[in-house]
Amino acid sequence: MLELRNISFSAETENGTTKDILKDISLTIDERFVAITGPNGGGKSTLAKVIAGIITPTSGQIILDGEDITGLSITERARRGVSFAFQQPVCFKGITVKDLITLASGRKIGVSEACQYLSEVGLCARDYINREVNASLSGGELKRIEIATVLARGTKLSLFDEPEAGIDLWSFNNLIKVFENMHEKKGGSILIISHQERILNIADKIVVIAGGELSRIGTKEEILPELLGKAGSVACPTLSEKVV
């Protein structure tokens, strides 16, 4: 179980002022699937980075299975079972897909096992296993490899930051199956940041973050109708005026 207690984060902006990016967020994640959604720039990725230890919150605590992990490094959190698939996957020079998946699994794995994780995310393993993880891979391919690294880790808490972004429709259905399988095999909680209704639909709990604040939290039955109803009305007022 993951517990966030009064998490706030502010950063210095370029013109010297401080910007409050996360404001007093308290949240418990114990369900199979929890989805975080909300407008662009709302603070979702920042929150995921706070959980993974990439960003240190200005105040507040993070509790994982009863242990306060607020002061732990990225590595220590990873070793305690936190995995994170980035919104923008990182490119390397010389490190291959096989290398990355092997590192993720934390042990020596054979080609066939590495290929299995790739196949799960819909990549024809043979074509990819020896490719370098660099910008010669397409956006969707990088994204799927990123997801495969989290599958290979198989930890109790997995964070996915917009896993569906750039992934084609055909694979999208499989992606949902991937998450379901993942839970069946490993248990634990899967936290997915997403803007996609179909992903929100599988969530046991939906968290809406807007303007750095936790604006709504509840089951999909409670949250979804409201979210979908609102769509269209949140557009920038000047834009709407011009359209009218």
């Binding site: 993974a52 990225i74 990182v90 020079k93 490190i95 590192l103 690294t149 880790r153």
Partner: protein, 306 residues
Amino acid sequence: MIDEIQKNLLREVADLDSLPVGAYNIRANGEKAARETTENIDIVTKEDKNGIDIIIKPFTKNESVHIPVIISESGLKEVVYNDFHIGEGANVVIIAGCGIHNCGTQSSEHSGIHSFYVGKNATVRYVEKHYGSGDGTGENIMNPTTEIYMEEGSHMEMETTQIKGINSTVRHTTAKLGAGATLIVKEKIMTHGTQLAETDFVVDLDGDGSSTNVISRSVAKDKSHQIFKSNIRGNASCHGHTECDAIIMDDATVAAIPEITANHIDASLIHEAAIGKIAGEQLIKLMTLGLDEKEAEEQIVSGFLK
């Protein structure tokens, strides 16, 4: 006779656990230790100076030549001239390499001067590894010079690697390419401690349709210093590309000094150079997989130099 230390050096520089197949010449502590020739490949000791002539008959196919040099005697200094005559249409692999084990106090020094005469339409893959070991205070110094002359339609790939144990190296490579000839150079260097590595490439693209690609990847650690110089001169209708990509760590310093000169309207030349520390996001990504910072650095460096 070859002892344990020398065997280890051979393994490092030539991946050899036993005597190689095909033609070879092993030079140990300044003397010929073993030699084998084949019907198509002759190796002849030079009369006027230190070194050998390697003569490869025209149209020799799929043969290899190993010419490792090993030094385990502290304080040995040598200059060796090796000339490779590669006949028309031949296709060969040449594996050179120099290993120094120095456990004494004097510096050991090997300067190999290699000349390649690559015949018309011949294909050569030249692999060279430099390696130093030993716990003495004596320095391991290697100053290789490579001169390459490529005839029409010939193709050469040169892979050089220096990963460990060489205190000081200054490498000069010059090449002249005839019509339709191609030269590809892949250099990998890692320096640590207070080591110095300097490389200097001058490639003349003299023939129409000639092309070259010079790629250097290096990692400079601790207080080491590296200098990369390259000058590609397009003297005909040709393509030239050079790329230097360096990672700096700790207090190391790296200089990249590129030069491209077009002396012909149809010469097309590109230089790319990048120097920087390991990208923070790469470290972070690997740390989210459970590696600590040091392990993440090692993975990134070894991938980079692979």
